[in-house]
Amino acid sequence: MPIEDLLLSGVNLMILGMGIVFTFLLVLVFAMKGMSKLALMVSERQGTVEAHSAQAMAAGNQAQTGIRGDLIAVISAAVNQYRSTHH
């Protein structure tokens, strides 16, 4: 079809397209805000439960982050070496 018509379709597509992109992501903004509110409510309601699991998680993270960085470095290197040699 003639280029002019193509361009017309293009303009059409641009207007609609950017319109949808913005609508979609704008709605998503509010969806996420609602989501976060909901999450807050939920976690408050089962506060106790959360607390426990939170502690548990914290503990878990402790166990991980507790390891001194250099040890991890050494071990990582070793693991690398181990892999490159044993595989």
Binding site: I3, L6, L7, S9, G10, V11, L13, M14, L16, G17, M18, I20, V21, F22, T23, F24, L25, L26, V27, L28, V29, A31, M32, K33, M35, S36, L38, A39, L40, V42, S43, M57
Partner: protein, 379 residues
């Protein structure tokens, strides 16, 4: 008896069959590998693509043909759209959307940056005024998605709308993603003021595990309601992210983040490379695509920054406009660039985490844009 002599022997050599186009394409493949290995341009993709280009241009071997290795891989993984979608699953499993959840408004930056896609679409169509160019609306759409700065999205859309241009589009997409550190900074400095770049943003709030688990469902839900044509991309992205955040399928999350994405990356790269044949790549179209791709990146960066400036005004100077440039995605390169440019003006201003929000928003944004193009043009 079987004819075995010097004559057939000579005819079975490469030099006797090598065409100039093939030599040139092998050169192109070599350049891509050089960029990958020496210049560190997206090596994970450009190295396999470059090598695939070399292999598929070897005369007589027919490695890229329908009976060749790369031909088989292309048929199974790209014609079907399976490979880019599996990569998207891996991206979802590797991405932490926490920064975005903490700053939902940065989604708008990811939206604004997609403007580059649609402007480029017009540009591609306008190029038809130049004799020798004849892009259809489908071609133009596939080319425009380069502005999405997202490899798998570009390959997926190109395999749907313009398979003949797939090679050039993939190469352009990954090359420019690698060039982000060179393309973006000047535009960023040109469009923002010293004061704006100086803005120190407040620290991100803590995001709960529950929010991170709910996020993929929120995104998928909107996709189902508004834009089902984007469902394959958004669906696999959110699936991968759920594997990651659910915390109950460590084995599967690990497989999606490692085995699957690594294996698929090798095959995807080689298969894309097999589309770099002289007759398809050494054309005026390719030059147009490369030009339009650079154009798309610049526009996307600019519109992202402008939206950043708007948010700067609206929030009374709480938002640093620079993070708008990360809206083009090109994760995590663009976010790093923002951080770098930010540090130039203020040595204590680390914008990396704030830039991650628009950065991942850009991934969703370009997937949405791809869905629109599929729905409007692909139908």
């Amino acid at each position: 008896m079987v004819e075995i002599g010097i004559e057939p022997l000579w005819l079975s050599t490469g030099i006797a069959n090598l065409e100039w186009g093939q030599v040139l394409m092998m050169g192109v493949g070599g350049v891509l590998i050089y960029l990958a290995v020496v210049r560190k341009f997206e090596p994970l993709l450009l190295l396999p693509i470059g090598f695939g280009a070399i292999l598929s241009n070897i005369p007589l071997a027919g490695i890229g043909g329908s009976d060749g290795l790369l031909g088989h891989i292309y048929h199974v993984g790209i014609e079907t759209g399976v490979f880019p979608l599996l990569i998207f699953m891996g991206v979802g499993a590797l991405t932490d959307f926490g920064a975005l959840i903490a700053m939902p408004w940065t989604l708008l930056l990811g939206a604004a940056a997609q403007f580059g896609i649609f402007v480029t679409l017009l540009g591609a169509l306008a190029l038809n005024f130049v004799p020798g160019f004849d892009f259809t609306l489908a071609d133009a759409s596939a080319i425009a998605i380069i502005g999405g700065a997202d490899g798998p999205t570009a390959i997926f859309l190109a395999s749907r709308l313009a398979p003949d241009l797939l090679g050039a589009i993939a190469v352009a997409a990954y090359s420019y993603m690698a060039l982000v550190p060179i393309i973006q900074p000047p535009i960023m400095r040109w469009l923002t003021t010293e004061t704006e770049r100086n803005v120190v943003m407040q620290q991100l709030r803590h995001v709960t595990k529950l929010e991170k688990v709910m996020f993929p469902f929120a995104v998928l839900l909107l996709c189902v309601i508004f834009l089902p044509s984007a469902a394959p991309l958004i669906g696999m992205l959110t699936f991968g992210n759920l594997l990651r955040e659910s915390g109950v399928v460590e084995r599967l999350s690990h497989a999606a983040q490692n085995e699957i994405i690594n294996i698929v990356t090798i095959f995807l790269g080689l298969a894309v490379g097999s589309k770099l044949s002289a007759d398809k790549f050494l054309t005026l179209d390719t030059l147009g695509i490369l030009a339009l791709g650079a154009f798309a990146f610049c526009i996307g960066t600019a519109t992202g920054l402008l939206m950043g400036k708007i948010m700067y005004r609206v929030t009374g100077g709480k938002v640093n406009p620079l993070i708008g440039a990360a809206g083009v995605s090109a994760v995590p390169m663009a976010a790093r660039v923002v951080n770098k440019v930010g540090l130039e003006t203020n040595h204590h201003n680390f914008l990396l985490m704030h830039a991650m929000g628009p950065n991942v928003a850009g991934v969703i944004g370009s997937a949405v844009a791809a869905g629109i193009l599929l729905a409007m043009v692909g139908g």
